[in-house]
């Protein structure tokens, strides 16, 4: 196709490269140069027509495109359908959570992919068990207070230990670290916890027992629940609770594909572009779950606005709305008194450059037909 190179070169910059490559790849074997010229000319016209016109209210159209189907969404958060045992926020509450830029999610969760692409189910559940946040309580057969010796006797469950791949010594270490003023001794599958300070009353011992039960002994903190599922031909470990940073350090985990649904955690661990992508994916997932099909560009626009400052900001009065330059626009959104008082203290100037302000003062809005203005060269004008 070398003979058309100069022709294609001419359209570089006029048509995106990917489109030009598409044309190149699909040209039939014998084609006249004039035909290629015609194709490119037509493509250029089509491309120009597909562009959004100047002054089109893209933001509002995006808002309406998401808002209208949003009114049809079920307000039901519970009962995801019983397919998975994990309860994940869905529907409108989740969508609000995403676009509000909430830092504290109702149901944080992760999808952990494995680096071993063909593991045995056994291995998968072993990895899952390793990741899960485990407290002592989950590993014991019995845990009792020996009043005579003033010790707590912990009888560990051998099978569970094997399943979770934890050694007794490791648990003892974790307990030593997790509890204050104690001495932990190991004897086969049993642990003996003794208070270091002599003469402590029994009450303390019982309190210690309860504390010991809750002590974190293995896994990753924050991963409350794990559920290995098969997605296509791949095993994925779904979790309730998330800790992206720690999970990614595991060898068994595919760090390229693993993700969590917490936008701010993703932002911290993987950066802004990853966070942006996550917002788009999560929003689309919610909408598609509800059977709503909207163009991805609307969501991308909203997401780009959220991410434009270099950090993720919600579409709330504290987020991007609070950063509008116009006092009137901010005042018309929420908490007007606060904004007006602040503006009067600082002596803010409102340039009346966006839509709301101009609706308020009843002027043509600078969008659509109200955008273009006339500039003339006044030749006879006096130079100042």
């Amino acid at each position: 196709m070398a003979e058309f190179d100069d022709l294609f070169k001419k359209y570089e910059g006029l048509i995106p490269e990917s489109l030009l490559n598409d044309v190149k790849d699909h040209l039939p074997a014998k084609v006249k140069k004039s035909d290629v010229q015609k194709i490119l000319e037509k493509l250029h016209i089509e491309y120009e027509l597909a562009k959004i016109d100047a002054g089109e209210s893209v933001g509002l159209i995006a808002a309406e495109s998401m808002g209208e189907p949003g009114t049809q969404m079920t307000l039901n958060t519970k009962h995801a359908g019983g397919v998975s045992e994990l309860q994940v926020t869905i529907g409108l509450p989740r969508l609000i959570e995403i676009f509000d830029g909430r830092k504290q999610l109702v149901t944080p969760s992760m999808e952990i992919y494995l680096s071993d692409k063909n593991p045995s189910p056994d291995k998968v559940s072993r990895i899952a068990a390793k990741i899960k946040e485990t407290s002592l309580n989950e590993l014991v057969k019995t845990i009792e207070v020996n009043v005579a010796d003033a010790t707590i006797e912990v009888d560990l469950d051998k099978n569970l230990l094997a399943k979770y791949g934890i050694r007794t010594q490791a648990i003892a270490k974790a307990l030593q670290k997790g509890l204050k003023n104690v001495n932990v001794k190991v004897k086969e599958d049993s642990l003996f916890i003794k208070l270091t300070k002599e003469g402590e009353e029994l009450n303390k011992l019982y309190a210690l027992k309860e504390e010991a039960k809750k002590t974190f002994v293995s896994g990753i903190k924050g991963i409350k629940q794990v559920l290995p599922v098969k997605k296509g031909d791949e095993y994925v470990i779904m979790t309730a609770g998330s800790n992206l940073k720690k999970v990614l350090t595991f060898e068994e985990v595919d760090s390229y594909k693993t993700k969590c649904n917490d936008i701010f955690e993703t932002l911290k661990v993987l950066g802004l572009e990853a966070a942006r992508q996550l917002i788009i994916e999560e929003a689309i997932k919610v909408l598609e779950d509800q059977g709503i099909n909207i163009d991805i560009r609307h969501i991308m626009l909203a997401t780009d606005i959220m991410c434009a400052t270099g950090e993720v900001k919600g579409i709330t009065r504290y987020g991007i709305v609070g950063e509008k330059s116009s006092v009137l626009a901010r005042a018309s959104f929420e908490t007007p008194i606060k904004h007006i008082i602040a503006a009067s203290e600082r002596g803010e100037i409102d340039k009346l450059s966006s839509v709301i302000e101009n609706v308020m003062i009843n002027q043509a809005i600078p969008a659509g037909t109200g955008l273009p203005s006339l500039r003339i060269k006044s030749e006879g004008a006096v130079k100042k």
Partner: protein
């Protein structure tokens, strides 16, 4: 040992709770205890609660002992002869009132033949579980509770013959149906409540089919000829009042034909219906803004000068006029004196309301809908015998709502009309559907109520048999004539200079936030501005300080009260509401300034 409470106060303990409550009940039945007392034993908490409080909902039941109803034929005969009354039955321990709590310890038989030894009570009649209005729904046990509920709500909104002395009454906002009929398919409650003396609907021929798309979405089609014969015709009455109020200083309103020099005098034409007494004459055909009661009031503020001015009385015009958008004929006039001893005039205006597109109708089964079209009889479907339906009802209203009672009533109505007898549709005790079908068959009709109908527009036979029969229909009080309103220009609110809101004030229709957004989305910037131009004003702005300046057209002087005369003053167009916002900000010591620059 069960604890005993009276009205939630602990009073003691008893050894044998079941025996105890039986004793209490027995004492109550022989009138040794208050008949309003109710007692309940709760096994779970081992407590006996005796209630004498007010506010408990109680219902009467027939007492049953050893599987035998205490109400005997003897009682019924005596009741019929009026030898005993309801009260006697209670005193004799035949009937007792049970509250919700005591009902927990009872086993109530629905029908007499269901009685066993275990039963403690028997329902007086199965339909008493319904309210009065719900009992009026025929075959109510053949539809969902929600629909029966909707049907009883419809009854309350139906236009009927509300009172026989209506010509002498002054009621606000009432409708009167012109040819009310007792229903063909009725329930026992119609007799108990004497509904045939004040019915609220009409029996009409209803065909269930989709016709030309004018009865989609619950709409119905009316037969124009039926309407002209008086179907669903009603009269609307509205009273207007005028009172001679007394003011301080011995001043008083005067009901009269206002003089021409009265402040706010309308025009001679507006007062043309008034008699010498200042009240419009009976049978006058009045239109919006015509004066019904002419009245003048003393001036609002008395200034010293007024007493010396000659001639003019300075009284204000304060007549009562016909409401905007309404018309009618003066029906009835009352001149009287009210509690304060003031002269008090009431004028009742009547207006005939023919059913029109948009009026709301309902059957007695919660199947309400508005009129979608009124077809001439020639365009309505007809049967071989020449029967033309009065109303065409959409079949799509049936499956999701499952109002089987609606369908049974249609068959029942048909049997009733053909055989000349009323059909009993009392819930649970109605004439069975099967019997109705057989009767219809014996009358020479298809037992399922369908007939061959012909398309009124083309004359062609419908390919399916159409379900057609007689039904009782209610005209509900929501008439378009009372709701319809439009406005081009009209009154504006004083504060914002924007159009008023609401029909009573001849208001505009608001172009709201979301409607505004559609203009923005279309980029129709200048159209949007024009739509919001209702309160636009020109405000002179001082270019020096940015505040509102003064343009004194009388003295031809332009100045800024802050900067003086030597400043440039420009007119700026803005919404008055925004000017108001600026003023309100100033009142809160926020100092908004407008800096101007050339637009182009």
């Amino acid at each position: 040992m069960a604890e005993v409470y009276i009205d939630s106060n602990f009073i003691g303990k008893v050894e044998e709770p079941l025996l105890f409550i039986e004793q209490v009940k027995a004492e109550r039945r022989v009138n040794n205890l208050n008949s309003e007392l109710n007692v309940r034993y709760d096994k779970k908490s081992d407590e006996i609660h005796i209630e004498l409080n007010k506010g408990r909902i109680r219902r009467p039941l027939i007492i049953v002992e050893n599987g035998e109803s205490k109400l005997t034929l003897e009682h019924l005969e005596k009741l019929e002869k009026k030898e005993i009354t309801w009260e006697d039955l209670i005193k004799q321990g035949v009937i007792e009132y049970i509250d919700a709590s005591e009902e927990e310890n009872c086993l109530v038989a629905f029908y007499h033949h269901e009685l066993t030894k275990a039963h403690t009570h028997l329902e007086i009649a199965p339909f008493v579980i319904f309210s009065l209005a719900t009992s009026l729904v025929p075959y109510a046990n053949f539809c969902l509770a929600t629909r029966a509920h909707g049907g009883s709500k419809g009854q309350k909104q139906a236009i009927g013959f509300y009172s026989a002395n209506y010509p002498l009454r002054i009621d606000t906002d009432v409708h009167l149906l012109h040819y009310p009929q007792a229903p063909l398919v009725k329930s026992l409650m119609y007799d108990i409540a004497h509904e045939d003396e004040h019915p609220a609907g009409q029996n009409v021929v209803v065909a269930i089919l989709s016709y030309e798309g004018y009865n989609m979405d619950d709409a119905i089609i009316l037969n124009k000829s039926s309407v002209e014969r008086g179907l669903a015709r009603s009269t609307y009455f509205r009273p207007y009042v005028g009172e001679e109020l007394r003011y301080s200083g011995g001043l008083v309103d005067q009901i009269c034909i206002p003089d021409k020099d009265v402040k706010g005098y309308k025009s001679e034409k507006d007062y043309r219906f008034l008699n010498e007494d200042g009240i419009a004459y009976i049978e006058a055909e009045v239109h919006p803004d015509d004066v019904l009661i002419g009245k003048t009031s003393p001036p609002r503020f008395l200034s010293g000068m007024d007493e010396y001015t000659l001639g003019s009385s300075h009284r204000r015009e304060s007549s009562t006029t016909v409401r905007h958008g309404e018309k009618g004929i003066i029906d009835f006039v009352v001149v009287t004196e009210n509690e304060e001893g003031n002269k008090f005039v009431q004028v009742r205006v009547r207006d005939q309301r023919l059913p029109e597109i948009g009026d709301k109708f309902s059957s007695r089964h919660g199947q309400k809908g508005v009129v979608g079209m009124i077809f001439p009889q020639s365009d309505m479907p007809f049967s071989a015998t020449g029967i033309v339906p009065d109303i065409i009802f959409s079949p799509h209203s049936i499956p999701t709502r499952m109002t089987i009672s609606h369908l049974i009533e249609l068959v029942g109505g048909k049997v009733s009309a053909l055989n000349g007898r009323y059909i009993d549709g009392t819930a649970f005790d109605a004439e069975p559907e099967e019997a109705l079908r057989q009767e219809l068959l014996s009358l020479g009709f298809r037992e399922n109520g369908t007939e061959t109908l012909y398309n009124g527009l083309t004359g062609q036979e419908f390919k399916v048999k159409i379900f057609i029969g007689n039904q009782y229909y209610l005209k509900l009080k929501h008439l378009v004539a009372n709701r319809m309103q439009s406005r081009a220009t009209g009154p504006i609110a004083l504060l914002t200079r924007q159009p008023t809101e609401g029909k009573a004030k001849e208001g505009g229709l608001r172009l709201g936030e979301m409607e505004k957004d559609t203009f923005v989305a279309h980029g129709a910037s200048l159209l949007l501005k024009e739509r919001f131009d209702s309160d636009k004003t020109l405000i002179p702005i001082c270019e020096n300080c940015g505040m509102i300046a003064t343009d004194d057209k009388f003295k031809n002087r332009q100045y800024c009260s802050a900067c003086g005369e030597n400043v440039v003053i420009s007119y700026v167009e803005m919404s008055y509401a925004f000017k108001l916002l600026l003023d309100e900000l100033k009142s809160m010591t926020v100092f908004p300034k407008i800096s101007l620059e050339d637009q182009y």
